[in-house]
Amino acid sequence: MTSMQTELTSREARVHEALGAVTDPEYPDVSIVDLGLVESVDFGRHGTVAVGLIPTFSGCPALAMIAADVNEAITAVEGVVRCEVRWLPAPVWSTDRVSESARVQLRNDYTVVLRKKDGTLLCPVCGSNTVTDQSSAGPTRCRSVAWCGSCRNVVEVMR
């Protein structure tokens, strides 16, 4: 336990726990905290909580749904009277914000990979480096489409 965590009151711990349980509508079991969408959680007086979120892409169609899910999860926490959810204009989201556990989930469960720092892509199915870009646009704003020439699977790349 870090000193910060021990300082949290039980209510604050419960809020963080509730927030961690909110998932992305397009990845129904991946936490928005692990995807790096949560920028700030501020505790005000009289049981108010303010959550600052950042979008992956500003045109993401899931924003209203995510905000509603956060609001519902936080206001259900004992001791919380009101929750205010805001989409922040800064900082800008990048794949650096995605946690290691979410990367594992995306790779194993969704065949979605993130480019390594040096730009290389490893196939989420067979692990080989024979993944080539196919098109910059795929089903969602936050992913491009690639193809693994070794195992012949469609790979999507979170960008």
Partner: protein, 307 residues
């Protein structure tokens, strides 16, 4: 592995077929046909969604329809990649056959969406039927690359359903005119949505034996009816079926909804591209393909390395 009995035993034991594996030609042909049908349906569905982007009331709904269009077209893109890799037809062959009316796609995209409420009926009823049917394919799906793509498609279709519910609630709780609009749309879309699951599965359906489908058509269709009849009635709408009744004795006394016998003629007509709106839809898609040739051409040129 080429021996059909041996292959069936492999599938029965939960075996997953990968593109580099040997597979019986019958399996390859059936799986290809199924994925091609799915890809065609996503593409034709995406084009319908696109028609409603400029007509959607308000910025938020335009954004939702824009994103849904990208989703559907993107799903078609991924599925055509998987299908083309099977070596039966190239992507160009699949598209040319679709646009010349020589291919098949889901029955629901052979009807016209007359009003905005029709589009909501599609988002609420048709997306839910497609979601149920795709989820059942994902559950066991023996072809690895298709199963992996389906995982993401199913997640995204689930997300579309939430949008459909939200839009339906708006009409259900709206003015009497909005309520009437949705009832009129429901009258047009209820049966096509029910028919989407298809007639009862044949006892020797190879798609079931090879675990592309995990559930029989009639099982999925009945689950859909049991879920959506009470939901729609709960919102104050009437199911357009005079013969519909609740049989309290059925289902070991737990009761179940029984519909009138289903007339399969409309479904059969759509499978021959002879549905009410088939011709216009195919022509529009074909025209769209021709109009965007310059974009594909420009992209192909830009990918060429500089001389």
């Amino acid at each position: 592995m080429q021996d059909l009995e041996e292959f069936q035993a492999f599938i029965d034991a939960g075996g997953m077929v990968e593109p580099n594996d040997a597979m019986p030609e019958e399996y390859r042909a059936e799986v290809f046909r199924f994925i091609e049908f799915h890809a065609n349906s996503e593409l034709m569905g995406g084009l319908t969604e696109r028609d409603w982007i400029p007509k959607a009331p308000g910025l938020r709904l335009k954004q939702i329809f824009l994103a849904k269009t990208q989703d559907e077209i993107g799903h078609a893109h991924l599925l055509y990649m998987v299908a083309a890799d099977m070596g039966v037809k190239s992507r160009t062959e699949m598209l040319e056959q679709l646009f010349s009316g020589r291919s098949r796609f889901h029955n629901v995209f052979h009807y016209q969406a007359v009003t905005w409420a029709d589009q909501i009926a599609i988002a609420y009823l048709v997306d839910a039927a497609a979601f149920a049917s795709q989820r059942a394919v994902f559950a066991e799906c023996s072809y690895g690359p298709y199963k992996r793509v389906l995982k993401r498609i199913v997640a995204e279709e689930g997300f579309h359903m939430r949008h459909g519910e939200e839009m339906l609630l708006r009409l259900a709780e709206g003015t009497p005119i909005q309520h009437e609009m949705f009832q009129a749309a429901l009258n047009r879309w209820w049966w096509p949505a029910v028919q989407l699951f298809g007639p009862d599965s044949a006892s020797d359906d190879p798609l079931l034996a090879w675990k592309i489908k995990s559930q029989r058509n009639e099982v999925l269709r009945d689950a859909y009816i049991q879920k959506y009849v009470p939901l729609l009635q709960g919102y104050g709408f009437e199911i357009p079926d005079d013969g519909l009744f609740y049989d309290e004795e059925a289902n070991d006394g737990k009761g179940r909804w029984i519909t009138s016998p289903i007339d399969w003629e409309p479904l059969i007509a759509t499978m021959r591209n002879g549905g009410p709106d088939s011709r216009r839809r195919i022509n529009t898609a074909s025209q769209n393909w021709a109009d965007t040739a310059w974009v594909r051409d420009a992209l192909d040129r830009s990918e060429r390395p500089a001389a």
